[in-house]
């Protein structure tokens, strides 16, 4: 399928991880949709940025966690992963705090979500066929 004919679907994540099932379920849906060859983008904003913090250890909660799954998003062809700069700054987070979503095929450099401004996110939203919020 050509890039133009692909369905553009954006996921927004605004809830923190582990306090509810939203982030986990959202991740499942993203992976399923990616299998249908859609043009997927994911935007983390508000408390959703906490889902991208590296070093989450959920062992004592007795749940699997999803940092490992986030680590292979690029392998699932989900490369457009964005994080709202203002939400990061408001929570004292910087780019170095973010987990890795894959690695560059050629250089093997780790790929992290991209920090962008609200106006850029608003423009991307306007180009989507569908936006799903989690």
């Amino acid at each position: 399928m050509s890039e133009e004919s692909k369905k553009k679907i954006m996921f927004t994540v605004r809830k923190p991880p582990h306090g509810s099932i939203y982030v986990y379920e959202g991740l499942e849906v993203k992976l399923i949709m990616a299998a249908y060859d859609a043009d997927i983008s994911v935007v983390f904003m508000d408390d959703g940025v906490y889902a991208l913090k590296a070093g989450q250890d959920t062992k004592e909660l007795g749940i699997k966690g999803f940092e490992a799954t986030y680590g292979v998003l690029v392998d699932y062809e989900i490369q457009k992963v964005f994080v709202d700069r203002q939400s990061m700054e408001a929570r004292g987070l910087t780019e170095e705090d973010l987990l890795v979503i894959g690695e560059d095929e050629d250089t093997e450099e780790p790929i992290r979500p991209k920090m962008v401004d609200a106006s850029e996110i608003a423009s991307m939203m306007a180009e989507q066929h569908n936006i799903l919020s989690f």
Partner: protein, 98 residues
């Protein structure tokens, strides 16, 4: 773009966040507890007033306003009904600020 907000601005930052990502020409529909954001003279009225000043169209669902006995709406907010809700959804891309 249509942004829907169903949370009270006194309890949740959904409306505030929505406004950061809203561009001129977009519209916002306040429904369920979101309609508290459409009331004039409150500590949170400035949010919707700011949106209107940015040329964002703001609607509030009349059924939810009536159910909550809310009458004092911010000037410029348009009250709509379920049919209007459907028209807005049909005419726009939608993002729900849940």
């Amino acid at each position: 773009m249509l942004h829907t907000v169903n949370k009270s601005p006194f309890q949740n930052t959904a409306l505030e966040s929505c406004l950061r990502f809203t561009q001129s020409g977009d519209c916002i529909l306040l429904l369920e507890d979101g309609v508290y954001g459409a009331v004039s003279g409150t500590a949170q009225s400035a949010l919707v007033e700011g949106a209107l000043a940015k040329k964002v169209k703001v609607y509030a669902l009349g059924a939810d306003m009536k159910a909550r006995a809310l009458k004092e709406t911010i000037k410029g907010v348009e009250i709509t009904d379920y049919a209007g809700f459907v028209d807005l959804v049909a005419a726009n891309r939608v993002h729900s600020w849940l």
